[in-house]
Symmetry: C2
């Protein structure tokens, strides 16, 4: 990856809580995704504790490599919030009070019947000469500091405050600096086709990576293939897209300009478009499928509900699975998956029923029915399709892959591909 220096950006994430297990660092993903869409690239994120020597060294070293540096965290009122002090020292500037921010924060206190104090006022301290990036979601503003032809942007650590200042100030400012000429980006998502399988099939079809950036990202039951090209390589980019579509006509569940569309949203859109309703019968997934479907706002338009039938008794009483089927084939079987999907469709009065039954482990496996054996089914007015899956891994992994797979089976069924 060789990029012109003006496209490269670094991030320094400060905060001891990011390094001792207490908190997840979400800054790099958020900032990285936004920069990517602007044709810029986050080339490094260095997470350091609240330690001024480590911060100083990291900042100086980053400024040797890039001209635009973001620093998150350490703008709060407590003694371990040291970012502005370290940056002021590097820039040989004073720390000054930003009166408009102090007044705004005092108003905030007043509304809560609390009195200002010195520690609280620290929120409004800035590096002298910085452009202040007001914070509608919190108390400490962001700051943009120009220093010897380089720019340092200071942003607060809480993710919703970071998000607000990015949207209000940073992205508009970057857009105005960049002008036109955004890069070409295409993201394809697959379920049930492995990373190496995709790479092999592309290679055999004569897919050439010359002039393109090609990246894969694998998650449980999910692979992303991303193509990026410069605006001048439009023809090459379009050819590559056409070839990918041709090789994988049924495997791709989403194609976007870079943003992520989860499979449950793809399915939700298909159900809404086709005016169909859905009900779920979950055994090994235990509720995960319903949870994911209902993460989509507006899912009540097509989702009737579901039954988590974690015991045979419930499969019989709530879903109408025949006791003889359970006795003859066992709960983890093609026949039971079929009856569960058909049962929930009937009982919940939905157009489509789906089901999962399997062995999520780590216990309960046998030689004949090992951990990771899962049957998934989709029942609709045309009949019922059932698939047998064999996967490995831990309990949550098996649940995740099972949910992904039954979503994909449903997608294929809705698109007449299964």
């Amino acid at each position: 990856m060789i990029l012109p220096r003006e496209r490269c950006v670094e991030l320094v994430s400060s905060g001891s809580e990011l390094l001792d297990g207490r908190r997840l660092n979400t800054h790099a993903r958020l900032l990285g995704g936004e920069l990517e869409r602007l044709g810029l690239r986050l080339v490094r994120d260095t997470t350091v504790p609240d330690d001024s020597a480590a911060m100083r060294e990291t900042i100086l070293s980053a400024l040797q490599r890039v001209d635009l540096l973001f620093i998150t965290g350490g703008l709060g009122p407590t003694s371990d919030d040291i970012t502005r002090e370290v940056v002021a020292e590097i820039a040989s500037r004073k720390i000054v009070m930003h009166e408009p921010t102090r007044e705004k924060n005092n108003e905030w206190l007043k509304r809560r019947n609390r009195t200002p104090n010195e520690s609280f006022d620290r929120h409004a301290l800035i590096v002298e000469g910085a452009a202040v990036l007001s914070n509608r979601a919190g108390l400490a503003p962001g700051e943009r500091i120009e220093l010897d032809g380089k720019t340092i942007v200071l942003l607060p650590g809480p993710p919703h405050e970071l998000r607000a200042i990015l949207d209000d100030h940073v992205i508009p400012w970057l857009r105005s600096c960049i002008g036109g000429d955004l890069p070409l980006c295409r993201s394809f998502r697959f379920c049930g086709t492995g990373e190496s399988d995709i790479a092999m099939r592309l290679a055999s079809a004569g897919f050439s990576e010359v002039g393109l950036e090609v990246a894969y990202c694998a998650r449980p039951g999910d692979v992303e293939l991303r193509l990026i090209a410069s605006p001048s390589a439009r023809e090459k980019f379009d050819q590559a897209i056409a070839l990918v579509r041709k090789i994988f006509p049924s495997e791709i569940y989403s194609e976007t300009a870079g943003e992520e569309i989860p499979l449950e949203l793809v399915i939700g859109n298909l159900l809404r478009e086709k005016k169909l309703t859905l009900a779920t019968a979950e055994s090994c997934t235990g509720g995960l499928i319903g949870h994911r479907i209902t993460n989509v706002s507006g899912s009540s338009d097509y989702f009737r509900g579901g039954c988590v039938s974690y015991s045979n008794k419930i499969k019989i009483a709530q879903l109408g699975v025949a006791p003889e089927t359970l006795a003859k084939f066992g709960a983890v079987s093609e026949a039971v998956a079929r009856e569960m999907a058909e049962g929930v469709r009937r009982v919940f009065g939905a157009d489509i029923g789906l089901s999962t039954t399997g062995i999520a482990g780590p216990t309960g496996g046998t030689a004949e029915k090992p951990v990771g054996l899962v049957f998934i089914a989709v029942a609709d007015a045309r009949g019922t399709v059932v698939r047998e899956m064999r996967t490995g891994g831990e309990r949550e992994y098996i649940k995740t892959v099972s949910a992904q797979s039954v979503f994909d089976l449903l997608r294929r069924r809705l698109c007449d591909l299964a």
Copy 2:
């Protein structure tokens, strides 16, 4: 923060997907938390793209500061997986095939009726002389490489694989290196009590932080209070623990030596101990509660199953909620939460029924019933308790806090605290 060099550890997280918005870097939190419990400290995490020059520079620079370096990611089969090549070059070693891993991976393929290929075999390549850390959760093993008195540990990027190799190999190895003298660590977890509330109540009770490290970490519906002390401060540490227990007799849902025990496991243990069974009726949580209960291995011992009643029709037909109750109070009401919990308990033949009904948003709120209004209920042989909650935030946040809160209500009920 001044620490002896032998306690300091660095991490290099490799993967362009961690910097372009595709994936969240969870490595630092996972590794940082584990190191903390061993008395070691993660002092830096540098995330770099799949770029050999940047990786080389970062690794060499880290090795100047610390003697133990972890590198995650880049051990997969594709052309952007370059970690082992970069490390081999730094160590002036060859890359060799690890035959036992290749055979294990080929078995894995065979079970899936797929044939090996050259790209797939790359999973089994290692740096010559490395100790192989077998990977029960995936295909590429970890590697431990000794180099000029320093140790480099290579680990795969997928979090469940990283977790497995940490548990199976890395933590036992670190324990054997460290010997005795682990720091004293105690973690208290709260649901429904805020961070600043805990701090205030501790301060009023005369809790002194002298000689202790005290850290808080707040997540949706969950606060951790962590106390750390050196082994020589045992008396002070024990006094602090006794005081915390005394101030919060009913609020603490778990007390551990640092590891996380999720609320669903606490509840599972209580249900098993008391030989009680559970069924769930979920509206706004959509399946999340069932999902979390069934993340606990062995939950089929006490979890009968549940109903995701995402429409009024299902609440009536499946749970026996009275149409008049729905008409009079609306689906999001104390009365409906009560009838849902009692209904699922009766219909599923369980000892305890629990329920959630609320407005997860972002749409569907009114002035009287705003987004974030949720009713939770627990019904058992002694009767039914219902609680009204008002929270803010986004859809997934509201679902998470609702699930936490009904779990905590159930915990209190099982412990005769509600």
